[in-house]
Symmetry: C2
Subunit: 214 residues, 2 copies
Amino acid sequence: MKKRSHFLDMAILGVLRNRDLHGYEIKRQIVDELGLFTSISFGSMYPALARLERLGLVEVTQGRPRGQLRQAPFTGSLGGERAIAVGLRVTGGADETRSRGKKVYTLTEAGRGTFSGFVNDDFDHGDDDLAFRVRLAFAGALEPEMRLKLLERRRSSLEARLNKGKFSGSRSILDDLYAKCVIEHTQSETVNDISWINELIDSERRRISEHTAQ
Amino acid sequence: MKKRSHFLDMAILGVLRNRDLHGYEIKRQIVDELGLFTSISFGSMYPALARLERLGLVEVTQGRPRGQLRQAPFTGSLGGERAIAVGLRVTGGADETRSRGKKVYTLTEAGRGTFSGFVNDDFDHGDDDLAFRVRLAFAGALEPEMRLKLLERRRSSLEARLNKGKFSGSRSILDDLYAKCVIEHTQSETVNDISWINELIDSERRRISEHTAQ
DNA sequence: GTCATCATGTAAGCCGTTACATGATTGC
DNA sequence: GCAATCATGTAACGGCTTACATGATGAC
């Protein structure tokens, strides 16, 4: 049911939620800043964007040249418009569709809806690390109770993992020092994750009760 | 260069290093006990075994029925032989190659060599988590100095990751609370990993110096 | 003026997942 | 006897990686 590429799609829509960006920068943010995927090749990034465009979830506008996006968001209006003009001039020869200028992607209303469906959906029973990380990264788009649900589902899935590990760890491999070492480290990572989730749940609850109190 | 499937191959050869096992059990050990892959489908497990067999890295012997492998390795001789006979009798009708009895895989000498090449090889610059976990799990097969090298390479790659995160974390996404939260947790996981590696390196050094001292 | 980086894409091939198909064994 | 689990496989489909191809920009 749930294809892996859905997470890439979701991450793309997620970073486009607040900002219009071009493909190269989208990849940079997903991989280098959010660290959601260890790597994404352009061979999967650009086709993904094309797919999303076909589905009407993003729109393409001919982009401003490099450098304008990063610095001085204040100068946007003047500098930005000029930049777009420059961009069009450079690429605006005969061969319009093949122009290699930067393509800036904008989330459409449909895209917003799909993204919202993504983060809210229960479709995976919380057993996938990647699914959780991606959802949490964009959990700002969720209702507080959904956020709490997400976290609690994650916690119970981590606890299940921990218990499974306790049972299975005691058989054939255990005589190998290094294998054991890897197993134990995995377990301790899970324990860490659980207490992290617990903190998140606590602060989420605090925030909710503060909100309903005042 | 390095295909993902190589890690599955390596893990298979690794668990077969000390024990002859059948496919289902190999998968159980790799996934449930070692936790090296979050999941492997049989659709990739069995083809992998077939590939390794074609390459002469593993050999297939018709297996004993279920239950014999887990309990009482002592009774092996008598119980085992009888079991093999039973296994053959059950499936040994007309359609010999199609027999669906358990297939028990044994590592060949060539397989041992390939496995040894796997763990020792430097071919990846240490930037892949999976590669490291798999190597460490079977690091018992390494010379102490190679083990130390493996750990030190891992440490420097984690430190690089940490530094990269410090630089890139401070730009556009940072206004989002949950994105920030994911980023910080990733960083703290890396810090944890580094201190874990440091402990391993220390105990490895201690072991080496003890060994050369006595 | 050239090199590194930014920027976008296409095509091939691999491989892993999914779904399907079969059958043995164990526990109830 | 029936269900769940153990156990092994095949075929199709999708998508990711790799390699290739192109070109602009900025720094030195």
